[in-house]
Symmetry: C2
Subunit: 194 residues, 2 copies
DNA sequence: CGTCGAATGTTGACAGTGGCAACATCGGGT
DNA sequence: ACCCGATGTTGCCACTGTCAACATTCGACG
């Protein structure tokens, strides 16, 4: 296995193993030395590819963000952008993603390093999953002649509900069962009146 | 200052300083040795009062939970339990509390060690702030002859919205301003139709 | 093909962390 | 007056992230 001095693609391998550790053992278990060992490499090799542990984590975060974004996009690929169903499917997919990958949740939002633009103007930099929600809100609002303020309000409520519902469902100490899809349905029923 | 061998009430002092460190410098900065030094005491003295760092944190969590609970109770002390306003005031107070003490948020919900009972039956052990929401939901639902399922649904949506909105507002990388009280108003308007 | 610099890995060290064990000091009940 | 338990201290350990110095390999250029 470890017959060469050089690893080949250590950077990639490190990310893979880091993600796997987070995914299997939780975020707190991620260790530079542990990840390095799993890659069959000595601890300081990490620093040839990442400046610090935090930067490795950032990279993992980006990776997970891409997974989530793709997951969300796939969930609404057949929807009319301005239909009421799009926003609901986005919310559902958001919750579902973290139910399938619970350990990603804390790693992504720890210290909330995610950039969110709470405005309806287009901006260059925004957290991509949030951007999907924002665009969907705008499509929906524009098709109905709603103001920017109403739209922003809708965006905040939708995102908060999806995010809050997720953190509620993810929590390891929650007992009882909740029909969370029904929850979202109720909310969107109230919203759209349909 | 440090003329006596024994501290007097080290346990209490440790909690105070730990809370202060979390409050001022953020959760990650809390260190057993640091807190001990601030109390003018050598590092291992902590272990005469707490089994581990995690247990000290747990105790701080309880302290903050009591603060939050009192804050919530105070916010609705003049409300009719079954009035639509109660649930809204609870939500507002929940968000307001963490806007006033942002650093408490991550310390309370890190690893989500909070016990939540997602049922409408009375249980002995439940996270007190959540219990306030639950009781308020039940009062509201019973006064209107709603089913337990509808009530649980309301509870989940209300809690999720408050919690999600908070985490959205707390996030250090959020730009733009949001009228979060209006957000809550909209949601409760949809809910109650009033 | 040979050489040399840049990229990549390794070893060793350091300070800081949580936690354990053994010892020191105090204070209250007999 | 004594002594035992509660409380604090010192010293140590394994582990962590990070830095510096050294080793190996790859690839571009002659």
């Amino acid at each position: 296995m470890k017959d060469r001095y050089h690893h080949g693609d250590l950077r990639h391998d490190l990310i893979e193993h880091a993600i796997q550790i987070i995914s299997e053992n939780g975020f707190e278990q991620l260790t530079l030395r542990g990840a390095a060992k799993q890659c069959g490499v000595s601890h300081n090799a990490v620093y040839r590819h990442f400046e610090s542990k935090e930067q490795l984590i950032d990279t993992c975060r980006m990776y997970v963000t891409e997974l989530l974004t793709a997951y969300l996009e796939d969930a609404v690929k057949d929807q009319e952008p301005a239909s009421p169903g799009t926003l609901r499917e986005l919310s559902r997919a958001y919750v579902r993603f973290y139910l399938e990958h619970p350990t990603y949740f804390s790693s992504l939002y720890r210290n909330s390093p995610v950039k969110l633009q709470l405005t309806m103007e287009d901006t260059e930099e925004n957290y991509p999953p949030f951007e999907l929600f924002r665009k969907s809100c705008r499509s929906w609002a524009e098709a109905r002649g709603r103001s920017d303020a109403e739209c922003l309000d809708l965006l905040a409520r939708t995102w908060s509900l999806a995010h809050g519902l997720t953190s509620l469902l993810i929590s390891p100490n929650v007992e009882g069962t909740l029909d969370w899809e029904q929850c979202l349905d109720t909310a969107f029923l109230q919203e759209t009146g349909v």
